[in-house]
Amino acid sequence: MRAPAIRAVGLLSGWGPGAGAVPADAAAAATGCALLTLARPAVTHERFRRSRRESLLGIAAVGAMLEDAGVGAEAIAGERTALLFATAAAYAASNRDFIETRIGGMYFPYTAVAAVPAEAAIEFGITGPYEILVGGPTATLRAVARATALLESGACDRALVLAVEIFEECADLFARARGGLARPLVEGAGCLWLEPGEGTLSFDQRRGVPRETGGARQRFGEMLACEPVMALALARDGSAAGPLRLQGAWRGESARLEWSRNPYRMRRAARPERRRIA
């Protein structure tokens, strides 16, 4: 696949805003704390009266990405922007609240996985191709690969890959079901802005987890689908022209993305010709 360039990254995490807040060793930095949370973004607009924390964090991540790019929302509005969303468990809190009847019927649509990208799409007017993948880091890595395919086919001019994970409302359940999760759990919301670039991107997903995939979690904790966004944000400061390799594992599967050239340092390519049917 023709590799995408990364134009901007928006990242919020339990460590603080951006990649600069991330420690060298999560376990040491967390000092025994099992969970690092993100506060609910403060919004007052009537439209958000029923919005859940995970949705507002998704919007905040897209906002942070726009800030990083130095452009306004109009730059991503419209049908030439694709939105791909990945999460392993962002829906768990709203599902639980609905099951335990802490919220009423009008909140039911917010229990859907699609609620998070829907709120972002509405807020920023994104009406292009739209896909949602469920899983941990492997889902986000696949979302980047799908975004690349959409860019390559000319279905969009830019693609946003959004990932959100929250844990606080279900912290007891994550503790019960902990199997395979690293410590600490770190809430996150991140968004990548991808555009046609240069070089190649390869992707594969397979059964089995190579030993080296644990490095990212050791550095910044368990972020599930947000892990690749965090890893890409951290890779931005690397001076090498490329290649850049990302790995992630989830429930016995691993996935790998490899850019032949550093996606932050490539010139953005001309838009592919848009195919039209008369």
Binding site: I99, G105, A112, A177
Partner: protein, 393 residues
Amino acid sequence: MSAKSERISIVSAGAVTPIGQDLDSFWSGLLDGADGISGVERFPVADLRVGRGGEIKKLTRAVDWRRVPDCRATRLLVSAADDLCEQSGQRALDVEPARLAVVVGTALGGVEEGERALRGGSARRLRGALYDAPARRLARWLGARGPAVTVSTACASGATALAIGAGMLRRGEADAVVAGGYDILCRFVMRGFDGLRSLTRERVRPFDRRRSGLLLGEAAGLVLLRREREAGARRLGTLLGYGSASDATHIAAPDLEGRGIERAVRGALTDAGVGPEAIDFVSAHGTATPLNDSAEAAALRRVLGPRGGAVPVNSIKGALGHTMGAAAALEAIVCLLAGRYGLVPATLGLEERDPACDLDCVQGSPRATRPRVSLSTSLGFGGCNAALVIESA
């Protein structure tokens, strides 16, 4: 050969639905006007306004259930996969396990496992509540060791799954993909739609002047995808194109003008390399809610242009209820079977056409016509829209 020019065949299909637990009985049920709607018995509904739906009373396929976790979502998927294996014949699924992938769509995943876990179930059940758990269990049952992927574009999920599966084949990630969708009828979703007042107390009447809402159903629909050059002679058809789009208007309701589904359809036609004049049949989303059907009809009229009133359209939701994550996969299968058998099933429940849904909805009895190229449209919560263009063999 470029990635895009690699044609993807739909080799076979499997289905478990309220009107039949294999492909043949599903199809004959649609042609015979079977009604899969009944009173829900599996969980309490007495406190709900509406307690009916497309419930499968008993899973009847001869599967060794001791090998399958006690999770209804997984069992629906395994039932459909068992049918798929039977329909495919031994050789079609005879691929190296590492080259067999699974891509399924769902709106609810293992949420019922979450309900059970919160009542004191085990940690294992809790892990089963994650929405991607049933797909992994299906992969295990199939012996597939390639990627196991879950998508959740709400009620358009099945279409997204087929498209992602096709992409995996084109990129050489797998040699065969079992793709489709599923969802179960459970208290979580019944209470949700009941609370939104989306469920009708009357009959489900897609595109009818008197339509008053939907009823939910449970089902699973799967297809086997392979690259055309490896598919063999026996196949149901070809997945020509896919498009998706976001409405960006409302968290639950569709765009009233159907602009999102229009973009998805135009994207699918472009991806397929065909124009609207090629479409012989539309397997519509047709939920029978006042908003969905008029928005979808308006979009189809705009896309199909002057032929909009002459292309046969049907909805299967009058027979099954809205099967959510399974709906798009089943509706794609209807496209294939309509082409194979030269019949378009009637839209059960449609009696008085709504002038606001000015389409050629097949009504009363099946129509003898053999669509070659069909369009399947899907809309879902969160402004999810997807469309597939399918060519029958």
